[in-house]
Amino acid sequence: MITERQEELAALHAFGLLEGQERIDFEVELMRDPELRTLTLHLVEAAALTSLSAPQIDLPSGLKDRVLAAAAQSAPTNVVAFPLLKFAPWAVAAGLALAATWLTSQNFSLRTENANLRTERQLAETAYKMAQNQLAERSLLAENMISDLGNKLRKSEDLARLKVTALASLAGNTKEAQVIAVWDPERQAGLLTMDKLPATNDGEDYQIWVVDPAYKNPVNGGVFHVSSDGRIALPFKPDQPVAQAAAFAISLEKKGGVPKAEGPIVLLGK
């Protein structure tokens, strides 16, 4: 069913009076509507016949010769071209369809490849982070190990610096005594550990001596008293600087000690 509006547009189209979007819209409508197409075709034909209402004028002489001469210099389009032209839109459509299919497959392929690459990148990033964490852990562990080793080294250096001497009994009453002297030359201090050292009488004290070749007499390291169990750990500090602790001795002296050894040397160690 053709509306008045369509008739009006068809009539205007027949005279070439449609312009712009109105013309485009109508031509689209023409392609979709065969009935409208038929009407428009008839209106175009009727409009063309209007030309016969123009006053008829004799043809100028020579025009026919000019037309034929122009045609002689220009060959008509090949007849074969007609069916080809007729199928050209289909060929273009087929080409577009093939191109669209190819582009779609390429698109899918590229998307898949892109997704794979993205996954690989994520895996690589994860592996990289794990490696970083492991490295950080190992680094921390190594630092701790280095720190521990450093501490141990310092302790071993400390130990190496220390002089450890076991004192031997020189008196009959101290045969079972076990005395060890540890001397730290840097700190100028020492430690005596004693076990089974006979207890001293009330008026007596043991006195520690450090033998240093720099001095004519042993250097006084202090006095100590031993109770009944004979076990004692005693720090001592000489009253003069000791350059080289060549030996350690313990004598039995009167209470309070003496500046220079007078009593018997009961223990000695180098």
């Binding site: 025009l63 045609a71 008509p76």
Partner: protein, 199 residues
């Protein structure tokens, strides 16, 4: 009450078929077919071109261009899309209007051709040299145009010959655009009903 509807002589369809055959021969390179087609339709085409551009030299150029185009595109002519004459007339009109617009002489030409918008005498200017077929066609068209209301006929002739836009036609006739559109629609539909599809 109404005038008898003009009918085409039997020769109309024959002429249309003959012109289609000439085009088929031209598509195969037959220049003599081009000469025969020229003899058949060149005069109304030249008259149409002259009617629009109002210049003999330009009208001749237009006709030459149109026949050259028909010669080159003969193979693409589709008989289901209209008559050979309709195709040629449309080509001629479009080229003539393009020339008018290109020269920007529209207003001048309108002024010059204004008297031509008056109804032409039904048979007055058909000279004895015109073919019988052409004389009959022209008579049928003018009769059909004469059956239109004067305002419809004027609108149709302006739409076909002037190259004016819808708005310009409305302005020239001092009528609303909708009225002009309606006149063109009704006038052309009546022409279609009155004229046979193939002259």
């Amino acid at each position: 009450m109404s005038e008898p509807t003009p009918s085409l002589p039997p020769s109309g369809d024959d002429q249309g078929l003959e012109q289609a055959r000439l085009l088929a021969a031209m598509a195969k390179g037959d220049r003599s077919a081009l000469g025969r087609l020229y003899d058949s339709i060149a005069r109304p085409l030249y008259s149409l071109a002259y009617r629009i551009v109002n210049d003999s030299a330009e009208a001749q150029d237009i006709v030459q261009d149109v026949f050259l185009q028909i010669w080159q595109k003969a193979a693409s002519y589709d008989t289901t899309r209209g008559s050979v004459f309709g195709w040629a007339a449309t080509l001629t009109r479009n080229r003539a209007i393009d020339r008018v617009r290109m020269r920007k002489r529209r207003s001048e030409l309108l002024a010059e051709s204004a008297p031509d918008l008056q109804p032409a005498p039904l048979e007055g200017d058909l000279d004895s040299g015109a073919s019988l077929w052409l004389q009959e066609k022209a008579r049928a068209v003018r009769t059909a145009l004469g059956q239109l209301a004067p305002d419809q006929k004027t609108a149709i002739e302006l739409a076909f010959f002037s190259g004016l836009t819808q708005l310009q036609i409305a302005a020239k006739l001092n009528e609303p655009l909708g009225t002009i559109k309606a006149r063109i629609r009704r006038g052309l539909l009546k022409l279609k009903e009155t004229l046979p599809t193939r002259l």
